[in-house]
């Protein structure tokens, strides 16, 4: 039984990994390799030309920079807002607390894709198109994260905090020096998730940026419009450049990643 499982698992995992492996190989294809019939798995004569072209013919570094800046900035702001809010809802008692909490978390039910048009007009009116702030604006509120963080913070006893305050510890210190370190796994997971959500966003940055200099990598990739005549090489080179650091990071950190996804968030 175990070996059957192993065989099936390996087959499935090979299928899943195939597109990634293929794109790595394809980044070294020449144009003839792409249009070859029958289609090829490996390049006939590996060439670095695609990589050179990808960077020379487009503004790839700028796109990448834009994505990194927006994702990092967005992640930091989002985590700050989420953690602060979750902290407040957990440890403070104020009028309307529960209603306000529901109000914020209920926005989970309003998928941002259905609000695209209206949000776009808002950003336009605020003159935030083609700005980093405009790109990350709709990703700053993470109701699911606030909910999860509050669930987690609730497990920390309120008396713990009271004791700390009596000892003269301010809220900030409690939060940063005690609470967050305890919740490291959760915070790291949510931070990674925030980063990749903003990094991978396609439709919103597409709508909100017009200038080539402000494009994010996801949008920029699809505009390496070489596919008109099957000139896929530079596209695959760009994809590989983009993928490799993340792939390597994932493979090296697979243990912490797997362990950080705890089912406390989903209910058990």
């Amino acid at each position: 039984m175990k070996s059957l499982k192993a065989i099936l698992a390996t087959i499935l995992s090979l299928i899943i990994v195939f597109p990634i492996a293929y794109s790595l190989s394809a980044s070294f294809f020449s144009w003839a390799d792409f249009t070859a019939i029958p289609a090829r798995l490996l390049p006939s004569q590996p060439t670095f030309e695609n990589y050179i072209r990808a960077f020379r013919e487009t503004n790839l570094e700028q796109f990448l920079l834009n994505s990194l800046i927006t994702a990092s900035l967005g992640m930091m702001l989002r985590m700050t807002i989420s953690i602060t809010a979750a902290y407040t809802f957990t440890f403070f008692n104020f009028k309307g607390r529960d209603i306000l909490f529901i109000l914020i978390v209920a926005t989970m039910l309003l998928p941002s894709d259905t609000l695209l048009l209206a949000n776009y007009t808002t950003i336009r009116a605020l003159r935030l198109t083609d700005t980093y702030l405009g790109i990350i604006s709709t990703s700053l509120l993470a109701p699911a994260h606030i909910f999860m963080l509050r669930q987690y913070f609730k497990t920390v006893s309120g008396e713990y905090r009271e004791a700390a305050i009596i000892e003269g510890c301010s809220d900030t210190r409690f939060l940063t020096l005690l609470l967050i370190p305890i919740s490291k796994a959760v915070v790291v997971t949510l931070a990674i998730h925030s980063f990749s959500t903003i990094f991978n966003d396609y439709l919103w940055p597409l709508l909100v940026t017009n200038k080539a200099s402000m494009r994010t990598i996801q949008v920029g990739l699809t505009m390496l419009g070489f596919s008109e005549n099957f000139d896929y090489g530079p596209q695959f080179a760009a994809i590989t450049v983009l993928m490799t650091p993340v792939l390597v990071a994932f493979i090296l950190m697979h243990k912490p990643i797997q362990e950080s996804v705890s089912t406390r968030f989903t209910g058990r």
Partner: protein
């Protein structure tokens, strides 16, 4: 007195950013979208005249919309079970000890490292009917982009690929959270793997499974970026989904009223489906 004021104001100030964002980017646009769907809206976004449900009336008789609706519902119907099956299988099959198992697991969440547009472009290339590697390797000649059924299947494949990374991690974690001693006891009592799954694992990972189902339904109803990059609604509108049509009407044609009407329909449909899911969950949990 001053200190007291400051003290009681503090929590409100701390949650102000979150509230502000919720209002600006969730509630306000929601109300505007609803309003726009009830008005005639100019090409610049100005509401011109109140028309009540007239936009919806015109929308529902529009053949293109009916196609979008059918496509989106069908996609949800195909995608959700297929995705859950594949992700759950991946989690269950690699739920063993050993280096090979670890390798399998890494492969399963690796797609998370591939961004959306990268994944879509890779798929677009490898599924090309004439020069793509998939048809070549499988020895078939399926017209992935020209046959409506094949295109829909391709969309499902794309959806699964985008989602498997995170869903595998969640299900994998859920399986690992099942106390080992329970599994030991069950196996000692002579339970075979199928029984183990049905009576022990499934109930204990049910909450995670519900979460997976809920997000899958939501993602399926709202699917748009893969359509934009892979198929552009083709062939013959067979992969045109609701949100994609909303994008066409709202952004390409500048028809905000129609776009908002579609958005409203999508929102309510998704809401209803999720509500149905919650009802089912409540009932099953009760009978447990």
């Amino acid at each position: 007195m001053n200190r007291h004021w400051k003290h009681s104001l503090k929590p409100y100030l701390l949650i102000l950013p979150a509230l502000f964002l919720a209002g600006l980017f969730a509630y306000r646009p929601f109300v505007i979208t609803l309003l726009n769907s009830l008005y005639t809206v100019s090409i610049n976004g100005q509401r011109i005249a109140f028309v009540g449900l007239d936009n919806f009336r015109r929308l529902f008789v529009n053949e293109s919309f009916q196609t979008s609706l059918s496509n989106t519902l069908r996609f949800t119907l195909y995608f959700v079970p297929v995705n859950v099956f594949i992700c759950l299988s991946a989690a269950l099959l690699s739920h063993r000890e050993g280096k090979l198992a670890t390798l399998n697991q890494i492969c399963f969440f690796l797609p998370m490292a591939v961004g959306l547009s990268s994944a879509m472009m890779i798929l677009k290339m490898i599924f090309n009917p004439f020069i793509g590697i998939v048809n070549q390797l499988l020895g078939i000649s399926v017209e992935w982009f020209n046959n409506p059924n094949a295109a829909m299947a391709l969309l499902v494949i794309a959806g699964v690929y985008l989602d498997i990374g995170i869903k595998f991690l969640l299900l994998h974690a859920a399986l690992r959270n099942i106390p080992a001693n329970l599994v030991e006891v069950a196996t000692l009592e002579g339970a075979n793997p199928l029984q183990l799954f049905k009576y022990l694992q499934l109930p204990l990972i049910a909450p995670t499974l519900v979460f997976v189902l809920a997000t899958n339904i939501k993602d399926a109803m709202l699917i748009s970026s893969p359509v934009l990059i892979l198929t552009e609604g083709g062939p013959f509108r067979s992969t045109q989904t609701l949100v994609y049509q909303m994008y066409l009407e709202g952004f390409k044609s500048g028809n905000y009223a129609m776009g908002s009407a579609i958005a409203t329909v999508v929102f309510f449909l998704t809401f209803l489906l999720l509500l149905a899911l919650l009802q089912i969950e409540r009932r099953r949990v009760y009978y447990q």
